[in-house]
């Protein structure tokens, strides 16, 4: 992760700086947009800030960039306290949502702009800008005006401009949300490639969870100004630490149940024993929320031992996968996603038996 990027042909060396956010809070009027957020980002790490709008993720990013002054807390970049430093002194690369290329400058002059601000001579500027354009695979586009490029190309230019002066930290504020789906996937790969080539630290804001899961080393989920969970993609999906995170990432069945310390009971007295690993944060005996991912739900013929009986409400065929929606005796709805090939002919109105593998179930306190 920390290694200097070695790119075949043109290369830009960068390396990454660690970022430490300590107890960051920001108040807008009576709204607490960010509420004592602490995140440690390792040097060269790619971290995604994920959350619904209003969760404070952009405010955190803007505070790191220097466009928002936090009410309290500290931001350390590469060990240096930058909390009150103006944006132009932070030496950060930044890519914005809407490209933000300077429309009156050519592509090359756009990319060379940060070098100009750093007093680098014109020849050197042009050479390094051209090299940065090659890194984002836009060599030879330097003389064009931003208007003449497609959205994806413009965002690559913005990327080149953000890395041309070899910053150790790259901030990205929903950089792909303005692109269409195919282009977005292409750019995701492009950014991942740059990250591994340059070894630069990246903090990436997005509201698109699949983007966060596929791109980042770790994902921080923000909820009303607080960090709900920060972990790697697999943990985030398989062991969400809160009901919010469980509902926010991916699709999740949530069933009201009761817990006696060893067994969970739902659907009118259907009980199953759970391993202790299924319990997130000591859950007291009593009402709990049982969660299980739809792809872990097993659909069996009715009456199979160890299954809860349910009635199929809908079968949605979607090529590779099929979604089965069924209602259980207790009235709760359950969604199961299965490979279409594995699913025997099930039709709407059929009665089936539903079963969850014990290791697929997690339980949470009922409230929240």
């Amino acid at each position: 992760m920390l290694a200097m990027g070695e790119v075949g042909g043109p290369h830009i060396k960068a390396g990454g700086a660690p970022v430490e956010i300590r107890g960051l809070s920001k108040q807008f009027g009576s709204v607490r947009a960010v509420d004592s957020v602490s995140i440690n980002v390792a040097a060269g790490e790619f971290i995604a800030l994920l959350g619904p709008s209003g969760s404070g993720k952009s405010t955190v990013l803007m505070s790191i960039a220097g466009f928002e002054l936090p009410n309290s807390g500290q931001i350390l970049i590469g060990g240096r306290d930058c909390t009150r430093l103006p944006p132009h002194k932070r030496n950060i690369g930044m890519v914005f949502q809407h490209y933000t290329l300077f429309p009156h400058l050519s592509v090359l002059d756009n990319v060379a702009f940060p070098l100009k601000m750093r007093g680098i001579a014109k020849d050197e500027r042009r050479r390094r800008a051209a090299r940065a354009l090659e890194v984002v695979r836009l060599g030879g586009y330097g003389e064009r005006m931003p208007k003449q490029l497609s959205g994806g190309q413009q965002q690559r230019v913005a990327l080149a401009r953000a890395i041309v002066y070899e910053p150790q930290l790259l901030l990205m504020d929903e950089p792909l949300s303005a692109l269409d789906k195919n282009l977005r996937e292409e750019m995701q790969l492009e950014i991942k490639r740059l990250h591994s080539e340059l070894g630069i630290t990246i903090i990436f804001v997005t509201h698109d969870q699949s983007e966060a899961l596929t791109m980042a080393d770790r994902v921080a989920i923000l909820q009303s100004g607080r960090v709900a969970q920060i972990s790697g993609a697999r943990d985030l999906y398989e062991r969400p630490t809160s009901l919010f995170a469980a509902g926010f990432i991916g699709e999740m069945n949530m069933i009201e149940a009761s817990w006696n310390g060893t067994e969970v009971t739902f659907a009118k007295n259907f009980s199953m024993a759970l391993p202790s690993s299924a319990v997130i944060d000591d859950v007291a005996a009593g009402p709990v929320m049982l969660t299980v991912r739809p792809e872990r739900v097993e659909v069996m013929p009715e009456g199979t031992p160890g299954t809860a009986s349910a009635r199929v409400d809908d079968v949605v065929y979607a090529g590779a996968g099929t979604l089965v929606i069924a209602s259980m005796a207790c009235g709760g709805t359950i969604r199961a996603r299965k490979g279409s090939a594995d699913l025997s002919a099930i039709r709407e109105g059929d009665r089936v038996g539903i079963r969850f593998p014990a290791d697929a179930v997690l339980i949470y306190p009922r409230q929240a």
């Binding site: 960039a65 103006p86 914005f96 809407h98 933000t100 300077f102 429309p103 009156h104 931003p146 901030l171």
Partner: protein, 269 residues
Amino acid sequence: MNGRTLILNAYVYAVLVFILVPILIILPMAFSETEYLVFPPKGFTFDWFGRFFSDRLWMQALQFSFQIAVATAIASTVIGTMASYALVRGAGALGSLFQALLIGPIVVPHVALAVALYLFFERVGLSGTLAGYIIAHTVLALPFVVFTVSAALLSVDPALEDAAMSCGATRFQAFRLVTLPLILPNVVSAALFGFIISFDEPVVTFFLAGIRDKTLPRMMFDDIEQNLTPIIPAIAVLLTGISVLILIGAAALRKAAENRTMPRFDEMK
């Protein structure tokens, strides 16, 4: 529907004629060979233009007006651009109050403003001075500058300056290197407006005028009272010509600005 359109068109043309006829009557009179104003003009000569340019007093007035107008153009554009920037980008709670004060001179009758300025300038010793004229005319020109520059600023994405600052530019560099080039056509056009507003401003000037230094409009007024020669329409022809050229120039600049500023993202889809 068609009948209504017809009536509306007729009405608009009637208004245009009503506005333009006095100008169309005055202009030909500049070429009359007579020693006094007459309509229709008799004969054809460029004499009156020659007399205007060879007369020392007229030339002094022209030079004085020109000085004031250039200074007003510069002062109102600099102040107006800064004010527009504050209004569009940073306006807090005081924004609308500030805007009302800036736009005020358009709403307040010029006579009222002139009297107020006269009384104030008498007291502080600015009456009849070059600085006094420039300050007064700058106040009159500011609303036009603010309108013109604000319109341009509104179409420039504020995130561009953030981007510039993230690239290492100070806030002022971000303005000078990114925003200013994008709004420059409107800024120049605003300066031209400032020039025109000052150059043929009669009312405030009338109140502030001293005995020695006279602006062109003031000098014309005196001449009308005493002589009423075709030199007056000759100057009118010149002023109208200059104004029309400047307005065309300003319009062309604004058009250029529209082509230049980046289309917003939602327009690009």
